[in-house]
């Protein structure tokens, strides 16, 4: 995908557009060949209007210097109408919802004359009804003769929207199938290469012992606005508590507050009965909190350090990594080998840099590390985001096993199936508040989705 968009060069092979071979050195080459990319993370300036965002970088000129906004507005209107995108050019982007922003991204690409659109995980940030709207838009685009490359982990979506499906596993094409001929189960098996895993955990292992108790936790931004407000919950041993919510509704701040990385006001915060509200992060970790961070590159790994040094990270006060003030190289290396073995981290050795591993293998290393040292509570933020299905199944397995052994898990995820499948208890967070308790045993992703957007009250 990066190669198609000119961000990386292929080692061999060729790319043909409309039958003629092309070579891309930069994204600009790809754009001029008519290939446009809609990134998973939006690249929009919040304080500019839709119009300004769209023309940014390819502004129409009038008389050499002046910007021709009138012409741009006309062109945007034309594109928007032609493809039924319904974009209003003069609204500031900050006032738009996620779905609208995505349409602006698509329009941005079309504005630059793209005939082939690459969409990278476009539905990851959308709730179900927004996904439906997106798919309607995509069908409109296809009707107008555009080509769309839709990249997704979510099989049902691929089945719904695609005219042809190519399955890629570990960098190789496994199969190209017609969506009419496959079931989502068959497709998943192609992706995993073996029998299908599922996040289901039905037999309850919940005990009566409270592992983590949070009462009235509030996090404020620098200017005093609450981003997490009066959140309270208990997680018992052997329980998975899921927090569902559209991203950016305070989940990240909540996790960082519990980890002690962010100041917060809290009436009570206890771990296994001990008041940890004044503990620094390191003591909370040593006290038995394992942490799978949302962004493994920023918070979970030292990318340019070998795996065994990454094993020490966050566990630098505990055996087998240290003896007193000294790093125990032999101990840390041996334990890294254990994690690589037990958690099936695919790597040629423990001396390679973490950056050399694929996302799934990096994540398995982190899961293995955080499960070490008998944690009482595991905070798992998007534990399977951006990992392949095989690693996803393995991570789910590890979570289930640990839960059965009495681990309390706080699960934060945008993957509704994962949340419903793994959680014993589900809470919905919206604008920093817990707005609903949901029984994962009888809720559908659609119901959960509308609770997350505040559309359906009292699910």
């Amino acid at each position: 995908m990066k190669i198609l968009y000119g961000m990386q060069r292929p080692d061999e092979g060729e790319i043909r557009v409309d039958g003629s071979p092309v070579g891309f050195h930069t994204p600009a080459d790809a754009i001029s060949a008519g290939i446009g990319m809609v990134h998973q993370h939006f690249m929009l300036a919040d304080n500019l209007t839709v119009l300004e965002n769209v023309v940014l970088g390819s502004e129409p000129r009038r008389g050499g210097v002046a910007l021709d906004f009138a012409a741009a507005r006309r062109k945007i209107k034309d594109i928007s109408d032609a493809y039924g995108l319904g974009v209003r050019p003069d609204v500031p982007v900050e006032e738009l919802g996620v779905g609208d922003r995505q349409r602006v991204e698509i329009l941005k690409v079309l504005y630059r004359g793209a005939r082939i659109l690459i969409l990278d995980e476009p539905t990851a940030v959308l709730v179900p009804h927004e996904v439906d709207e997106l798919f309607d838009n995509l069908r409109g685009l296809v009707r107008e003769g555009l080509t769309i490359l839709f990249i997704s982990h979510k099989l049902d979506e691929v089945l719904r929207v695609a005219d042809a499906i190519t399955v890629i596993r570990r960098g190789t094409t496994v199969a190209t199938v017609d969506p009419k001929d496959v079931t989502s189960r068959k497709l998943a098996e192609l992706m995993v290469g073996s029998a299908l895993p599922s996040p289901e955990t039905r037999e309850s292992t919940v005990t009566d012992v409270v592992a983590l108790s949070v009462r009235d936790l509030t996090v404020r931004t620098g200017d005093g606005r609450p981003v997490v407000e009066n959140v309270s919950f208990d997680i018992r041993k052997g329980e998975v508590l899921g927090i569902a919510g559209v991203e950016g509704n305070g989940q990240a701040e909540l996790v960082e507050a519990i980890m002690g990385m962010r100041p917060c006001e809290v009436a009570a915060l206890t771990l296994g009965g001990a008041d940890i509200s004044q503990w620094p992060t390191l003591r909370r970790r040593a006290g038995g909190i394992g942490y799978i961070p949302e962004d493994r590159h920023r918070h979970g790994l030292l990318l340019e350090s070998p795996l065994w040094e990454n094993r020490i990270l966050g566990h630098q006060t505990r055996r087998p990594n240290v003896r007193g003030p000294w790093i125990d190289r032999a101990g840390a290396r041996a334990d890294t080998r254990r994690i690589v073995e037990d958690y099936d981290v695919r790597t040629p050795g423990i001396d390679v840099d973490a950056a050399a591993l694929s996302g799934g293998n990096q994540q398995k290393l982190i899961v293995g590390r955080e499960m070490s040292g008998d944690p009482v509570l595991l905070i798992a933020s998007h534990p399977t985001r951006g990992v392949d299905i095989g690693a996803q199944a393995a991570i789910w397995d590890h979570l289930r096993t640990a839960r059965a052994a009495g681990l309390a898990v706080l699960l934060i995820s945008a993957d509704l199936d994962e949340l419903i499948g793994l959680s014993d208890t589900l809470k919905v967070i919206l604008r920093g508040r817990i707005v609903a308790d949901v029984d994962p045993a009888n809720v559908t992703p659609e119901q959960l989705g509308s609770a997350m957007t505040g559309a359906g009250e009292g699910v």
Binding site: L196, M261, L282, Y291, L301
Partner: protein, 376 residues
């Protein structure tokens, strides 16, 4: 297990030759550029380089190179401690000069006799350097002031403060040289007759420098503190998530850097001039930055860098015999630093890409039977 050399060279797995190749290429490149400059100026490059080499291999010059190199090396260590956690202590210069002034004043007053006086001078220098650097650390932690800005400012303040101390409190006039009262003979650090064929002695602080280099390596690579320091340098966000107290680390690292900086002036003060005057070497802190870059913060690399730098500095005067401006050496020093940085960056990128490719090839090649994930 890894060999010692492997680790010193930064665990370059793709054959240690890459790590050696980078600096060698850089020096060859620097020589080439300097030759071009010499040719443009109408001088004979081969002759110039032979003169430099001849001078550098005489016993007397070797001692001088070692003695200057000791100060350069300590300065580079002070800078490197900060570099390892992305902290740019530009203020090593001010820290060592202020430390030297105060230590010289105390030593000259001879409040305690003999060896005790040496200890007092060294401790005072370390403490002053540490405190001066701590100001920048605290400003960064509590007020968010970039340590680059604050240390540059503190350099200027240190200069003013030093002159004031010398002229108003510690100063005595000998001839027309205003300096601190000389430290009495019983508190001089003896030299070591290390190089045969010359009566000039190697500064006794060479031992301290070597011990410091070893301690630097051990602390950074083998202790929990060093791990946290390196982790913070590589990714502050990951360090925070791992429970490293980043604020505390910033202050502690600045203090360490300043404490080492305090020692930079000691070889000169206790082993050569015995007083702080206008002739006291200045600008060593900036030399230290260049050498830390040159040696890639590695204790061995910086030692080589310090000696190379010192060799160039000491032999530059010889060029004037050939009617070549000695500033040509400064050009060469600049080019060496630049080419080393570029060469290492290229090697580093090459290594990252090569390793990623090697990992994926190794994983793809033996088509392992698909593991049946024990799906429930």
């Amino acid at each position: 297990m890894n060999g010692f050399l492997d680790r010193v060279l930064g665990r370059v797995r793709l054959g240690g030759w890459l790590a050696v190749a980078a600096p060698v290429v850089a020096i060859v490149f620097a020589v080439l550029i300097t030759s071009v400059v010499l040719l443009v100026a109408g001088k004979e490059p081969v002759e110039a380089f032979t003169t430099l080499a001849d001078y550098g291999t005489q016993p007397r010059s070797m001692v001088m190179i070692l003695n200057t190199g000791v100060m350069y090396y300590i300065s580079a260590l002070a800078v490197a401690v900060g570099f390892r956690m992305n902290l740019f202590n530009i203020g090593v210069d001010g820290q060592y000069r202020l430390a030297a002034v105060i230590a010289a004043g105390l030593g000259g007053a001879a409040v305690v006799p003999g060896v005790l006086n040496i200890v007092l001078v060294v401790v005072a220098a370390v403490v002053v350097g540490a405190l001066w650097a701590a100001i920048a650390g605290l400003l960064r932690v509590y007020r968010g002031v970039s340590e680059v800005i604050s240390t540059i400012m503190l350099n200027a303040i240190a200069t003013g403060l030093g002159s004031w101390l010398v002229s108003e409190h510690f100063g005595v006039l000998t001839g027309n040289d205003l300096g601190t009262r000389p430290i009495p003979d019983d508190a001089h650090v003896p030299g070591i007759p290390l190089v045969a064929g010359t009566p000039v002695l190697v500064n006794g602080f060479i031992v301290v420098a070597i011990l410091l280099g070893a301690a630097y390596w051990v602390v950074l690579n083998r202790t929990r503190f060093g791990f946290e320091l390196r982790a913070t340098g590589k990714s502050e966000s990951a360090a925070v998530a791992s429970g490293v107290g980043v604020k505390k680390m910033i202050v502690v690292t600045m203090v360490m850097s300043g404490a080492i900086a305090g020692l930079i002036g000691m070889p000169e003060l206790l082993g050569a001039s015995y007083k702080y005057s206008n002739n006291f070497p200045a600008g060593l802190g900036f030399t230290g930055i260049a050498i830390a870059l040159l040696g890639r913060n590695s204790p061995v690399g910086m030692a080589v860098g310090a000696l190379l730098w010192s060799f160039l500095d000491n032999s530059s005067n010889q060029l004037q015999l050939l009617d070549i401006s000695k500033e040509i050496v400064q050009i060469m020093q600049g080019v060496v630093v630049l080419s080393v940085i570029i060469a290492y960056e290229l090697v580093h990128r090459y290594r990252l890409v090569a390793e990623q490719r090697r990992v994926s090839r190794q994983l793809a090649a033996p088509a392992e039977p698909p593991k049946a994930e024990a799906a429930v």
